[in-house]
């Protein structure tokens, strides 16, 4: 009989927090690119999907529920069956989705048992070390531990129990079933195709350990839900964007003073393994190569493609270090005959370039130039285009003469992308550059060595892997939004992917749930440990536990989202005051609002666009005083002066979507992307209106001049 192997796709699913009990499904198409299977549809990819539908994208009013709350983004997982031959090929392009009721190899799928385990380990983990990034974990090292008041030993069980939010595992089977990651519901696992309850699983939430909690949007008492749809696919919705802090004394509000590391704080993002077992009508079962779900910040600009995405980072790693496509890259070199596909490898970079204007205030010349990049087709002679000679693309490797009086430098304008790179003096880059693989593809194109279309496209499941990660932020991992530099760590993945798992699949650490069942786990002892430590040979090969993918991120995430609008470069050895965007595609800084676009009283520029507004605006956003010489600094504009305000206003930020999906009754051209659904309000009369780049920091640079 023909054999099959089974895999969950996407390999890494991305869910996002929201303060609504409702959710929409994560996008299954690539931002800014054509939606697959919808030729001629003017709406580009990246938009979330309406629950209960295959691929119906939501309209602008569906980002919020009827009460105005911001909906969560749920990740949808499917199972694909692949032939056992050629499992070491990528793309495989020979998988087929199976659902309950599907037949495969003469057998009928009668059920699928899904299991998911969500946890948040940020509070127990080490501080995010922007100065060193991944380097901080080299040679057995780690950054400073967060929450040292709770103990100096990171492995201490009592400490871990208090500081890890662990909802425990949940298992589901059948169609339209539900389970919640909250203490009111028992943990459960799959065993031999059956669901086993774990009533004694040591679930852990902050309120169980800290009597006095600061709860700006309520108590964290859930990490979300999971459910199956009518065909047995899995849907995982995460937390509600809450943040809790324990009080050390009678102080009413626990402070947040840092963008990424704040002791005493929890948030309800999470991550964990997604597993499944397929049950057949002959009583047999099949294990499935598992996936992973990451629950992270909301996506406020889902159709703005990142020039460098998580997929680009992961693909670059797998290609150059994990033998993904030896025909492309082998033994440390790109195959000189390799021809990237314009539609698959080149065009996304061009589309991403042209999308940046919707979230960042670009001068007219730059908009023209970006549009010129976007207009390049596979039929154009590269030498005649604006990107001839790759004159305006920043090379990924620092030049060997890149020194200025022994100081590290890099080049900003006119090189693209004009956004910030990994912020870290220890190997960090002031500016973002394409990955080595992206740059190589561009170089091939520039030398007329490319094909117009990919004759070996991804299969449907592989496309889900790619689309999911391509809609997430790559580069500038300080620490990032969805995942950080761990995406570049080989030990995070199933490295022998050629054995059937396929690429981009996180290596699950085996957890001994039976210790909960047979009571061999001491009472009060957490099942989860400190977990995966990158670059530590003694543990990194074991794989990831729940919470190990997001523990490197900012705590609470709101603080970093607030902070990372525009910054000077880092390193900044010349003390330049010029400001650049941190994450323009993922963290909109300035936007064109739909309301301004419609307003006939507002003067439009030669591109037909109104002046931009800050995405984060209104009360509390006027930069105040850091020192007598540094007040009202533009570097602090477009954010709340007090980090805490973001804890309660993140759900009021608007969303930038293509005009084709704006259902406010007004008429727009198809190709504009405008902000809708913002609830931020309040006048800021002293704040200078945003202006196109260049932006320069300094005392009172954000404040209107008085006569």
């Amino acid at each position: 009989m023909t054999q099959s192997i089974f895999k969950i796709h996407p390999a890494i699913g991305i869910a996002r927090v929201g303060n609504s009990s409702e959710y929409y499904l994560a996008p299954e198409s690539i931002a800014a690119m054509p939606q697959p299977g919808k030729p001629g549809d003017p709406t580009t990819g990246g938009l979330p999907i309406r629950p209960g539908t295959e691929d119906t994208i939501i309209s602008s009013s569906e980002f919020r529920d009827s009460c105005g709350a911001f909906k969560r983004q749920a990740a949808r997982f499917r199972i694909f069956a692949y032939p056992t031959e050629d499992v070491d090929q990528y793309p495989a392009n020979n998988g087929a989705e199976i659902k309950i009721g599907s037949s495969i190899n003469g057998k009928k799928v009668v059920d699928i048992v899904w299991s998911v385990h969500l946890a948040n380990k940020k509070c127990s983990w080490f501080a995010n070390d922007d100065d060193h990034g991944a380097v901080a974990y080299d040679n057995g090292g780690t950054p400073t531990l967060r929450n040292l008041r709770e103990g100096l030993d990171p492995y201490n069980s009592a400490r871990l129990k208090k500081l890890i939010i662990d909802a425990g595992p949940r298992a589901l089977k059948g169609c339209d079933s539900k389970a919640s990651f909250c203490p009111a519901e028992q943990a459960s696992i799959e065993k031999d195709g059956e669901i086993i309850s774990l009533p004694d699983y040591p679930q852990s939430f902050p309120y169980m350990h800290f009597e006095q909690l600061d709860t700006p949007q309520g108590r964290i008492d859930s990490l979300g839900e999971m459910e199956t749809d009518s065909s047995g696919r899995l849907i995982v919705a995460g937390g509600y964007g809450k943040s809790n802090a324990w009080k050390l004394d009678a102080e009413d509000k626990v402070k947040i003073n840092n963008p990424v590391n704040n002791d005493q704080w929890f948030d309800d993002t999470s991550d964990g393994p997604v597993n499944a077992t397929v049950l057949f009508d002959d009583g047999t079962t099949e294990a499935v190569f598992g996936g992973w779900v990451v629950v992270t910040d909301p996506s406020y600009a889902p159709q703005t493609l990142n020039v460098v995405s998580l997929f680009d980072e992961a693909y670059d790693l797998f290609l150059r270090e994990l033998a993904l496509e030896p025909a492309v890259y082998h033994q440390g070199k790109f195959n000189p005959d390799y021809q990237p596909a314009f539609d698959d490898h080149i065009k996304p970079i061009f589309r991403a370039t042209a999308q940046q204007l919707w979230n960042a205030y670009l001068p007219g010349f730059a908009i023209d130039a970006h549009n010129s990049v976007d207009s390049i087709t596979a039929d154009d002679n590269p030498d005649e285009t604006i990107l001839a000679g790759l004159a305006y693309i920043r090379q990924p490797n620092a030049g060997k003469q890149a020194s200025w009086r022994s100081q590290s430098i890099d080049v900003g304008a006119p090189l693209m992308p004009l956004s910030l790179g990994d912020s870290s003096p220890a190997g960090g880059k002031p500016f973002l550059s394409p990955t080595v693989t992206q740059y190589h593809a561009l170089h091939c194109w520039s030398n007329h060595q490319y094909k117009k279309t990919n004759d070996n496209p991804l299969g449907a499941g592989e496309y889900l892997d790619r689309a999911t990660l391509q809609n997430c932020l790559g580069g500038r991992f300080s620490p990032g939004i969805d995942m950080t530099w761990v995406i570049r760590e080989p030990s995070m993945y199933v490295s022998n992917w050629q054995q059937g798992a396929g690429p981009f699949r996180i290596h699950h650490k085996s957890l001994d749930y039976t210790s909960v069942i047979d009571n061999s786990l001491s009472y009060g002892t957490p099942l989860l440990t400190l977990g995966w430590i990158p670059r530590h040979e003694d543990v990194e090969y074991l794989g990831l536990e729940p919470g190990d993918a997001t523990k490197f991120m900012a705590l609470p995430w709101h603080a970093d989202y607030n902070s990372c609008a525009i910054h000077q470069t880092s390193p900044n050895t010349q003390d330049s005051q010029t400001l650049y965007w941190s994450w323009p595609a993922q963290r909109p800084v300035t936007v064109y609002t739909a309301q301004d676009y419609q307003d006939q009283q507002i003067e439009k520029d030669r591109h037909g666009l109104p002046p931009q507004r800050y995405s984060v605006r209104g009360s509390g956003t006027v930069p105040r005083e850091n020192s007598p010489e540094d007040s009202g600094n533009l570097a602090n504009a477009g954010r709340f002066w007090e980090y805490r305000e973001m804890l309660e206003k993140w759900n009021d930020i608007g969303v930038i979507v293509q005009a084709t999906t704006i259902d406010d009754g007004a008429s727009y051209p198809d190709n504009v992307y405008l902000e809708v659904e913002s609830r931020l309000s309040g006048a800021t009369p002293n704040l200078k209106a945003p202006a196109p780049w260049p932006m320069v920091a300094g005392d009172k640079t954000a404040i209107k001049k008085t006569r």
């Binding site: 001068p363 010349f365 023209d368 001839a388 000679g389 004159a391 003469q401 890149a402 260049p694 320069v696």
Partner: protein, 381 residues
Amino acid sequence: MSISQFLGTRTQQDLLNSRTLKHPKKITSQNPWTIEALREHLQWAVDVELYTIPFYMSAMYSVIDQASEARRLVRSVVNQEMLHMQCAANIANAYGCDLHITAPHYGGEVPHLDFEANPNQPTKIFSPYSTQIGPMDVLRINAMCIIECPGEFSSATLDPNTAEYSSIGEIYQAIREGAAMLSECIIPNNNQVAHFTSTYPDVSSLIISEDCCEGLVQVNGLIDLIVDQGEGAAWPNDNISPDATIEQRYEDYQQEQLPPEYQNHVDDIQPYWDHFQKFTYLRKQTLPETFPLGFGSPRGRKNQQILINHFGHFLQLMNIVFNPIYQQQLANSNDISVAAVQQMAGAEFGNTMYKVGAAIAACWENGVVPAFSTSASQQEQ
């Protein structure tokens, strides 16, 4: 819709054919200013500013390492030369000039200038040099130093016995004097272009928006900007040995004197330095690695032709953007409004400029020297 669709008298081919340079007729006490003479001088100023841009850009893009000091310093100069071109054109339009912007001719004299007459003797100090388009090498760096070398002059020292000006500064000194004498001719807001304002927010005005005396203040402001960023602010004359060479004197002179409002703090790695200081600094450094020249591959030849085409189109656009008289002619001959002409040219201006830069880079990548006129391309073959 492209501006190229509209008929004009200034065809790409005409603009790409370098004009035969007229040796300037220097203004002296025996040969006083007229508005025609001032306009002629302003045309020369624009010619000189344009001349530097392809020359410097070509050297810049020949450097392989994007992040090298050489490439970054020359880029900062190129950006300011574009600003200077805009400033010179703004002054020219303020005096009603009918600017003709045509392809520079490289390999011979720098238009309208006789550096041999510069008392600082740059051609002897910065030798050997070449004004052929070429890579960033000793010949080009020396030529850059010569072009930006300060002169020594004042209104009293404009030598009536020499036929040409000896430095860019001297041309502008002459223009300064002519402009003052003819300030009543200033036409405010006549086709003034104001890019770069966000890079130089503290410059009081990059355009001539006033007439007469107030307009003259703006004219002088733009001349100050050009000269100070280029060869540097006026030097103190005290405590300088009369026997010192220009380089020695420059080293003695306190650096970082560029007035704050003329400093580019957005993306210049040495905002305090003028062009001469940047180039003389580079001259003392190890030469950067440049793209090797090939043997004229067919692709390289095509790259040269692409560059010529882009540059020809850019010349057309500059003739429109910087010349209101030509804008009116185009509008009349095509029965469209001046505003439409301006809008179309403005929309293409930036992209075409970027394409010129990209095509220069592509020439070097493919082993050929960038070419800016058909004759130059043939010459290299």
